[in-house]
């Protein structure tokens, strides 16, 4: 018993001493807020090749004759977003068959330790002209990526690393931008004094924490009443149960803010089953949400974290190996939100429920079959 108490005391002491974690960074919030209004540069209609400002990096020193051997260390394909993204990437590789001799990937299954070994094995294999990395976590993968960058050109995307060693780091605006877009819309559309329920997936995931930090800030600025912030684990059944409980408790929920859209339809169904009017809601660019939005004429918005960013690293790696300059050391892609005006452009009944509309894949070979569409 004594040890149990001692253990609890030790952990309690730790919890009070825990440092404030850096998920709510006002400077980054302002930066992303500003980026939302920047007009993208680059080819029209190809947002995956565009950028929101940024320098050019000279890559002459990496130039070599093709075709090239590309290697990709993937954090995992453990959710539909990553599945769609990886399909985009494979399609991009196929589209560049002439330049690519081989494309080898290693899947880390969401394990930092394994991804470090995977990257080391790639570097050691001598089979890679360039390495693309989608890190499982930022801090843990930094040393491995730095070591790899000493041997060959590295392109990082989605999550970054704490280092300037990669040739370029590609991602859209980011979590704060997502949170700002969703929360601002809800704040504007709900009736005065309305209640908002926030549904979150998991604590501790950087991009999701950023989304919530931004939304919380916006709601505070606009004096919106947030009646609860609940974690759903991305589980439809749990989402529905939570929303039912809140509807029971408060009678009326006017707005639902979500940090990711996969369970948006389940949340809306809870309103249907309870016989309540739909709330003002933000989802994401998943087809099931877009289809429901269109069918039921919701008051909604869909901020995105576009999966077309999975095409860009392949393009960047090839440019680097050809010695062409690329945007870097950070390459910011546009991150549009789908609104009532642009909904018709993105909704597509032929695509599966969790297909992400901003895949930038509509013109690629084997669309829509390769993405599971009909």
């Amino acid at each position: 018993m004594k040890t149990q108490i001692g253990l609890a005391a030790l952990l309690a002491a730790l919890s009070t001493g825990a440092i404030a974690q850096n998920f709510n960074d006002p400077a980054e919030f302002e930066r992303q807020k500003a980026l939302l209004t920047v007009a993208p540069q680059g080819p029209d209609g190809k947002p995956w090749e565009q950028n929101l400002g940024g320098e050019k990096v000279d890559t002459a020193k990496y130039k070599k004759p093709g075709p090239y051997k590309l290697c990709f260390s993937n954090a995992g394909v453990n959710n539909p977003w990553r599945v769609v993204g990886f399909t985009n990437m494979q399609a991009e590789v196929d589209a560049n068959k002439a330049d690519i001799a081989s494309f080898t990937h290693a899947d880390a299954e969401g394990k930092d330790d394994k991804q470090i070994s995977d990257i080391n094995a790639f570097v050691n294999s001598g089979q890679c002209d360039a390495l693309i990395v989608s890190p499982n976590t930022t801090a843990a993968l930094t040393p491995a990526v730095e070591a790899a960058a000493k041997k060959l050109p590295v392109v990082v995307f989605d999550r970054g690393v704490d280092s300037k060693a990669p040739v370029t780091f590609i991602n859209p605006i980011g979590g704060y931008g997502f949170g700002i877009q969703g929360a601002s819309f809800i704040a504007e559309k709900i009736p005065a004094g309305g209640a908002v329920l926030a549904l979150r997936i998991l604590p501790g995931v950087d991009v999701l924490e950023n989304r919530w930090a931004a939304a919380e800030r916006i709601f505070k600025e606009k004096s919106i009443k947030v009646v609860g912030a609940e974690f759903t684990n991305g589980d439809n059944a749990k989402t529905k149960a939570i929303v039912e409980d809140y509807l029971n408790r408060f009678g009326k929920i006017d707005g639902v803010w979500m940090d990711a859209g996969a369970t948006a339809v389940a949340a809306l169904e809870a309103f249907e089953d309870a016989g309540k009017p739909y709330p003002v809601i933000n989802g994401e660019d998943q087809q099931d949400f877009l289809q429901k939005w269109k069918k039921n004429k919701l008051t909604a918005i869909a901020p995105t974290y576009p999966t077309y960013q999975w095409r860009t690293p392949v393009i960047a790696a090839l440019r680097i190996l050809k010695g062409e300059p690329v945007t870097g050391p950070t390459w910011k892609l546009p991150q549009p939100a789908i609104t009532a005006e642009t909904l018709d452009k993105f909704v597509n009944d032929k695509m599966p429920p969790l297909h992400y509309a901003l895949c930038g894949c509509e013109q690629m070979a084997n669309y829509p079959a390769r993405w599971g569409g009909k």
Binding site: N79, P80, N236, A237, D245, D288
Partner: protein, 327 residues
């Protein structure tokens, strides 16, 4: 129960009371607290709503109970739920005409999974924890392979109705969710199988002491295979209800196997076999679900909810072990 029955033990009524005691007591305390926090749960409608959401977990617990009673574990239930939901959406493709044969195919898949689990344990002599752990990995991979990693279609409305439909204006209760009717039917069959048939007694005998059971003429291998089939069929049933309640997702079954085992244990089942009651499993499932609901209502930070679950789990088992020793 056979563990007790073979020795001289307390009277049947007392044994029955002991079988359901912990789970039921825990549930009543939790539910009482819930109604204080949210009075709407005090009405019949509130209780039926809770039952509707808890139905999949209770069904899983009843299926798992057979395996536990027989001395084993089934860790593959959760990924079979995932396979059921993803597979159902692939097969039915949103078309209501496909619903009934889709459900038939899903049960056939369940039958196959149960048979493989059972045969690997009985013929290949692989301990059930490892056999079903391997099955967990394989089934999850198979479900994702089949659907390409993300849901590929919708479940038709009449499929969804099984988990979603609520009859309104019912005499006496006001509302009646369809899934609660399915739950009642399922629990009835499970209770009959375990407590009123020769098969049920054989399961408990095998779990208590396989060698003795064999010597007394119990077909040990066949009994073992059957419990895994029952558990797999209950996972398919739970999957159909879950998919109906909330739609398609790839994470739907994650972790359900441990919840089902925990529910059995809170309900007084003895791991490694020999003592089990369906009433206890139902009470255990209800307690666990009531606990989740209560922690939600209390607005406790997410991580601390895990801590509370852990404490309750240990306390429930420790108290029943303590009472067993005093008996």
């Amino acid at each position: 129960m056979s563990a007790v029955a073979t020795h001289t033990g307390p009277s049947a009524a007392l044994r029955f009371a002991r079988g359901i005691n912990v789970g039921l007591a825990v549930f009543l305390v939790l539910y009482g607290t819930i109604t204080v926090l949210q009075p709407s749960y005090f009405e019949v409608e509130g209780f039926l709503n809770l039952l509707r959401r808890a139905a999949p977990l209770i069904i899983l617990a009843c299926g798992q109970l057979f395996v536990i009673a027989g001395g084993g574990f089934d860790l593959s239930m959760g990924s079979l739920v995932t396979l059921t939901v993803l597979g159902g959406s692939m097969l039915a493709g949103g078309n209501p005409d496909n619903t009934w044969w889709t459900i038939g195919v899903l049960y056939l898949i369940g039958l196959g999974v149960g048979l493989v689990n059972g045969l690997v344990v009985t013929l290949l002599k692989v301990p059930s924890i490892i056999a079903t752990l391997g099955m967990l990995l394989s089934l999850n991979g198979a479900a994702l392979m089949w659907s390409g990693g993300a849901p590929r279609g919708y479940l038709p409305e009449n499929f969804r109705a099984l988990g979603r439909l609520v009859y309104r204006d019912v005499p006496l209760t006001g509302i009646m969710p369809l899934s609660v009717l399915i739950l009642i039917g399922f629990v009835g069959i499970a209770a009959w199988l375990l407590h009123a048939t020769v098969f049920g007694r054989q399961v408990l005998a095998v779990g208590d002491n396989p060698r003795a059971a064999e010597l007394s003429g119990v077909p040990v291998g066949a009994t073992r295979v059957l419990v895994f089939v029952i558990s797999a069929l209950s996972a398919v049933t739970a999957g159909i209800l879950l998919g109906g309640f909330a739609g398609v997702s790839t994470a739907v079954g994650q972790g359900l196997e441990l919840q089902a085992i925990a529910a059995c244990v809170i309900g007084g089942a003895q791991l490694l076999g020999g003592r089990a009651s369906v009433t206890g499993a139902v009470a255990g499932g209800l307690s666990l679900f009531a606990l989740f609901t209560l922690l939600n209502l209390m607005g406790l930070p997410q991580p601390l909810r895990e801590t509370v679950q852990g404490l309750i789990l240990i306390a429930a088992v420790a108290s029943s072990a303590w009472r067993m020793r005093r008996a």
